[in-house]
Symmetry: D2
Subunit: 281 residues, 4 copies
């Protein structure tokens, strides 16, 4: 089981996000309290948006807690939108090309969970990837295929519909191959402006996902927390596991739903996988 974090809001440093909080993502990589696996030492990745059109990305196969370059970079990288992921590999090779977040153009994508019995369905799923994208597959991770399926089904135009289509296909192909629970997932994707975060699993018992309470409410609840005073009202954090034990700060994303973190009011909607008709060929 992996861990991930997505942040949008007032520009912060990676250091503020990844190392400073109590029970930070880096701490969690060593000692998870809520995870299916207790250690996440099989690589990690960070993606962020800065002055360039495409996001920066840093991925490594070392355990996150050991990586000196990450530690040294973290205070120097400031960004208003950050994805971070630590990996507990389930079967596939520990290699940089299997580390999240995955990137395509200005899009990032990361995943906690798995495609069930991936070896049984991998070929059918790979064939459903748009031929123009196929040659870009570099690793062997289920999530990389998942990402290219979402791109195939229109991630760049309508992310929720594209993820629903990709998951619908994964369930359909799984069913065909006798896989009991074809997918388990919390997923985040972004174009650098909006974040979409999904919680779903075929068994309807999905891995945990939390979003932070809006900043004004948090400020009222915890006036003693200085950091809250520098965050914009729209700053938001979405995490696999709460970063610190702060009463009133964390809200669970409901089963089979997704959230949209965007300019203006954020939203929470139902998530319903739908296999794309064209993919039956």
């Amino acid at each position: 089981m992996c861990r991930w974090l997505a942040y949008s809001g007032t520009p912060v440093s990676l250091d503020d996000l990844l190392y400073r909080p109590e029970h930070s993502l880096i701490d969690q990589s060593l000692h998870s309290t809520m995870g299916a696996e207790t250690t996440n030492g099989d690589g990690f990745g960070v993606g962020w948006y800065g002055s360039e059109d495409t996001p920066g990305i840093y991925r490594s196969i070392e355990p996150a807690w050991n990586d000196r370059n990450l530690h040294d970079l973290a205070p120097h990288v400031h960004s208003p939108l950050v994805f971070a992921h630590i990996r507990a590999a389930i079967g596939s090779a520990v290699q940089q090309t299997n580390c999240h977040p995955f990137r395509y153009g200005k899009w990032l994508f990361m995943h906690n969970g798995f495609i069930g019995d991936f070896h049984k369905v991998k070929r059918d799923l790979a064939l459903a990837v748009d031929p123009s994208l196929f040659a870009l597959i570099e690793g062997s991770a289920d999530t990389e295929i998942f990402f290219y399926l979402a791109l195939t089904f229109g991630l760049e135009d309508d992310p929720p519909a594209a993820v629903e289509a990709a998951v619908g296909l994964i369930e359909e192909v799984g069913l065909k191959h006798g896989v009991e629970h074809p997918i388990q997932m919390t997923v985040a994707t972004t174009d650098g402006a909006t974040i979409w975060a999904f919680r779903y699993s075929s068994v309807h018992d999905s891995r945990s996902l939390f979003y932070s309470t809006d900043v004004p409410t948090l400020q009222a609840l915890h006036p003693e927390l200085e950091i809250l005073s520098v965050l914009s009202e729209e700053s938001r954090l979405i995490v696999s596991e709460p970063l610190r034990d702060l009463p009133g700060a964390w809200n669970e994303v409901p089963e089979s739903s997704y959230g949209i973190v965007q300019e203006g009011q954020d939203e929470l909607r139902a998530f319903t996988p739908k296999a794309p008709v064209a993919a039956h060929a």
Copy 2:
């Protein structure tokens, strides 16, 4: 451009094969004199046969000349059949799963050269891989697909026919996608008893490949070379580039041909790619 070496004969240590010869493979990785690329620092691999059914394998993304583990292992590993490969990546990621030799059961496979315009043909070639093998693909190297195609076309039963079928398909698919020269290759494969070594390219101007003169002749030519006295008569070396400048020691494998190093008389035959009929679907 990569370099490789295949050895069969009296058991020797990896140290004897890889480090001790003048102009050894390790030296070549730093300073090639015949190669298309002068530096081969993009990973390497060694495979060898010992007491187990499947060969041992050691692959790393560090330059071979830096790898302390290889240096420390080399004197401790003795084997009658060794494959070694150093890589100059052409485009694909530098990751362990892209390093040669590739292994399947008791088979090893390594390649110097490339599949032309691989991004154009990768999908069609991947689809031609037997579905039962597809999920085993772990990396993004053209050679990994090549290997699984050869396995698909019967490598375990008739290696020359299987490699001719795989190359035939690669040429046919390349042609279909407008690739001028679909393949450039010297390839070696083995089941642990016999070695097959191929030299071929679509442009009929293939990368160099040499086999060593038979040991009795070498002993007569160079009675001063002590190592020759401990080698069995059937010991044989096949290399991308001669290891040392020894008059009479190295013979070029002719264009469009392959050699078989086996118990008894070794053989040299013509190589003719033939696209498999079933693969046209």
Copy 3:
């Protein structure tokens, strides 16, 4: 906290030692039940004796559970004497030159524990290393200095006396710098024939260390365990943590003592640090 294992006896493969046992060292690296730290993902190393004068050695900064090369090598390496170590770094860099076992000539050395407040005492200890050995120091681990101190004080001639001298010096220097508990250790060293295993700490509450019951007794206790029938009577395992829950199989090395695994009767003796007089300069 690290974990280690030392084996002497009937030649076995690294696979048999490291991967096959229930609660194996590799398992322990992910989920320790007795350790001070729960995860040991900061590199590992294996040393073994074969046909060469010096032992083979393989060390890596990847977590042991991820290392494919170790996994692939393990069935191919057979040895009558093996050291294996997995590391939980305490402060010092995660780099190959900090991984155990350390090697000098035919000697291996590994350590679970630490030199207290190492940054305070490092210089004085480094200065006590024999000048002819000083330039061989390659990393920044406390154990590397400890090893060179033991060599300085005669490890090759009288290992117990040399380790007692090194520990005596470490305590004396620690005292001088106000370090409350200068050393915590279980240590193993070998020349390829005999193993010496030490358990000691300044606070007299040392990390755990166990040795296996003699093989004939184990055979009588557990006639159902097939593997016992192929082990010689003198085969012996020393471990930080019992490998499996086998009644009667594991015996604790007492506080402040050391064991000698050797041809003939093994021995258990008291361990008493003694600072070398010459080192006071």
Copy 4:
């Protein structure tokens, strides 16, 4: 032989500095035309100044030309002062802690060359390092010791005097141990505001070092080069090897001298090693 580059001036991205120029540092790592060694594949490092007090640093043991993280970071990191170094190891281990630039507080330090017969002089030099700095030594590179010697002799107060003292000591200790040519160097150091770049060798035949012509002159010489129009008048580059063949652009730093790149007029002065008196103990 290593290669390095130091830049000061208008903020640029690492991409502009490291990847875009013809005959860039990354290209040089594969194919040097002026170097003593033709391949520099033994790690690299980059240091830069940003919003923090201490410079950012990224060091890796992969060949620079393979490192995807560097490639992905480069467009995202902008800085007015950058050090970059690619390494051809001469003997010492390829590990991150041996990669340049070395950092202490706000200082960076990098070196092309070597301390002659380092194994003979390492101990004496290490003992001359200030005891308060000794425990910070993490690797086994001659340059790390050189840097701590310069810090010991006042780098933070008077860099030229400190480097002259360090080199004086290295020569004196070398002489004592019968080393013919104790040092070969081009060295750069900076506090984030000023750069000092030294060229010196005991044999008075030092490795090459060039500084760029002042920007106004370059603009007059090469009005067609667009990039020159965005650089401030004080922008300056110092390099082991000219980055591109631009008539009038590169000036050799004379033998036994050093340059100061600073606000206002840059300077060029004679370099004269002077062994510190206190170091004779």
